[in-house]
């Protein structure tokens, strides 16, 4: 018996010649940025070590993913402040809640899929309902792995946006990550942050040397009179690179980087959207359901601000496995596809 509703992907496919150009699944976060950007190794791990040396309330916990969330840097530098909780995400979150109750500031790391899907009730009840200062920092946000839906957290922001008390951060690059760590630790409540790990590109200060991450603030990285892109996470890199491509065609694109998804900086978003009659485009590494795009749309409509509006984001589907560049092209979030879509909307 076969289930008619089940989408089979195992029909025979052509195998390329050995010298073929088909890309492989393994991909590093460094490859997210266009060539020419500097990278920083493990910005989260190093920033957390720096902070913990100044603040003895800071602890690091993980569920068997220290190496893959850059927390190994912290574990090696401050072994007494590190807890390996094993492959047990529900325990990870409830134990972090217990440590927070005793006055500590635990940073709990895992993959975004496991925090948002498997441990949600523990985050909701043990942490968020009591507004405890647990900082949940998660690798593999959105489409940053080619492993398929088991590892692709394409709906994490939608899940956590619905959770009261939760502050949500989607950092763009190594600058954001390093500066966000002390900022979220200083915030009195729970925080969910997406994480880019390994060699992370440094992008924002290239475009705006005075850029500093500010929790709760959207900041204009690039000005432009034709299009306003409101973006978060690595889609801000994509938007900036796409803006340079479009500039060659005489299309002037502004980029408003919105690393804090909740609470959303509605004041800045409304001020930017009201200015100059530009096409407003949101760009996110997340399903178009319930993420930055819909948050911005709701903000605009509630305020009676109705510019031409488009959304760039992942489709409401379980995504394919494969090589990231291929997938980013397929789902419209590569630099070329971002530029192409914007061009088509003008």
């Amino acid at each position: 018996m076969t289930l008619a509703s089940m989408a089979r992907k195992y029909e025979p496919r052509p195998v390329p010649r050995k010298d073929g150009q088909r890309l492989t699944t393994s991909a590093m976060i460094a490859s997210l940025a266009a060539e020419g950007y500097d990278t920083v190794a493990a910005p989260f791990g190093h920033a957390l070590v720096d902070l913990a040396r100044r603040d003895d309330r800071i602890l690091g916990l993980t569920a068997d993913l220290a190496k893959y969330t850059d927390l190994h840097v912290f574990a090696e530098a401050l072994p007494d402040r590190f807890y390996q909780m094993g492959m047990a995400e529900q325990l990870l979150m409830s134990a972090a809640a217990g440590l927070a109750r005793e006055g500590f500031i635990p940073f709990a790391t895992t993959y975004a899929v496991f925090a948002s899907r498997r441990a949600y009730d523990f985050i909701a009840m043990a942490i968020a309902e009591e507004n405890l200062p647990v900082k949940i920092v998660c690798a593999l946000p959105g489409l940053t792995t080619g492993y398929g839906p088991s590892h692709q957290a394409t709906e994490d922001l939608a899940i956590f946006r619905g959770l009261p008390n939760m502050t949500i951060v989607d950092p763009c690059d190594a600058v954001d990550i390093a500066q966000m760590v002390p900022a979220i630790a200083a915030h009195p409540g729970p925080v969910y942050s997406r994480l880019l790990r390994g060699k992370v590109p440094s992008v924002l200060t290239r475009h705006r040397p005075d850029y500093r991450f500010q929790l709760g603030k959207a900041q204009r990285i690039r000005d432009g009179k034709d299009v306003l892109v409101i973006s978060s996470g690595f889609m801000t890199m994509r938007a900036l690179d796409a803006a340079e491509l479009l500039a060659k065609d005489g299309i002037d694109v502004a980029v408003l980087h919105t690393p804090t998804i909740k609470p959303l900086d509605t004041e800045t978003i409304l001020a930017e959207a009201r200015a100059g009659g530009r096409l407003v485009v949101t760009a996110e590494n997340h399903t178009v359901v319930g993420g930055l795009g819909e948050a911005v749309a709701g903000t605009l409509l509630r305020a009676g601000v109705t510019p031409s509006f488009r959304m760039i984001g992942l489709p409401d589907e379980f995504l394919e496995a494969g090589a990231l560049p291929t997938l980013h092209d397929m789902y419209g979030i590569s630099v070329a596809k971002v530029a192409e879509q914007i061009r088509g909307w003008l």
């Binding site: 094993g86 325990l91 972090a96 440590l99 009730d121 043990a126 309902e129």
Partner: protein
């Protein structure tokens, strides 16, 4: 260490009397509301009496005192029983008894930390308490505190995988400051726990998970006290669990023999009868 200054050490009220007082307060609250998890409250009253008047170290007028033993109510729906003992201990004022479960009350039907002094956590989403207890026990060790963490859970929560994640972790981290109390009344929402998802052989499971395990009659105060003493005095660097076999509705025989359910049905005119029956059994 002020373990010898536990409130119980200075009280001349017997534990039997304390347990009876807890049952009576729980019945009065349930009567106010017309319902409540009275079966569980009556069953666990002896365990709570021994907890608050024999084992725990706390200051009634300073429920957030840093040196206190932490008592976590993982089973949020047992709140009626905890409110009763918190009143008996002088942590909650007795006048608030009649506000149980009402608008603006500090005593909601399911226990929440932000509402009630002495309620350490928000329970109710079952299977979370033991994991939180692990974190608190780790935190107390970091602070070099001699305090214990007690987690009161139900047999139904033994079905949650998160309970066993936490159990493994407590042994892994050698948490000798963690004492888990399992109220085994063999009753959960859909029927007998052992017929829903059987956790037996239960002592062998906890022992295999690295815990010191005792199983006693949870309505035999001498046995309950003995188990608390043994758990607290144990010199081994591992967590301790006490499984208490309890009887739902204990102390009110006509309810004890009623077809027992998770949410025992009591008719409006039966509350006074239940109180009268309890009064007959008042300790001398």
């Amino acid at each position: 260490m002020d373990r010898d200054r536990r409130p119980s050490a200075t009280s001349n009220v017997s534990l039997e009397q304390r347990a009876w007082n807890i049952r009576r307060k729980a019945l009065l609250m349930a009567e106010v509301q017309g319902q409540g998890y009275i079966g569980q409250a009556l069953g666990v009253a002896d365990v709570l009496a021994a907890s608050y008047f024999h084992a725990l170290n706390y200051r009634p007028h300073d429920p957030e005192w840093e040196g206190r033993d932490r008592f976590l109510l993982s089973i949020g729906h047992y709140a009626i029983a905890l409110y009763a003992v918190l009143m008996e201990a002088g942590i909650l004022p007795e006048e608030e008894l009649e506000t149980y479960g009402m608008d603006d009350s500090r005593m909601p039907m399911s226990g929440m930390a932000s509402y009630t002094p002495g309620m350490e956590i928000t329970g109710g989403s079952l299977g979370q308490g033991l994991g939180i207890a692990v974190g608190m026990a780790l935190g107390l060790k970091r602070k070099r505190s001699p305090a214990f963490v007690y987690n009161l859970m139900s047999d139904g929560e033994l079905g949650e995988g998160s309970t066993w994640e936490a159990a493994m972790s407590a042994a892994h981290h050698r948490l000798d400051n963690l004492i888990c109390l399992v109220d085994f009344n063999n009753q959960q929402a859909d029927g007998r726990s052992t017929e829903m998802l059987c956790s037996e052989p239960l002592e062998a499971k906890w022992e295999a998970f690295g815990w010191h395990c005792q199983r006693v009659d949870g309505n035999d105060l001498d046995a309950v006290v003995g188990a608390f003493d043994a758990a607290r005095a144990l010199a081994e660097a591992r967590p301790r669990v006490i499984i208490f076999d309890t009887r739902m509705c204990k102390g009110v025989p006509f309810l004890e023999t009623r077809e027992i359910t998770h949410f025992v049905r009591v008719e409006p005119d039966e509350w006074s009868k239940a109180l009268a029956v309890l009064d007959e059994g008042r300790p001398q």
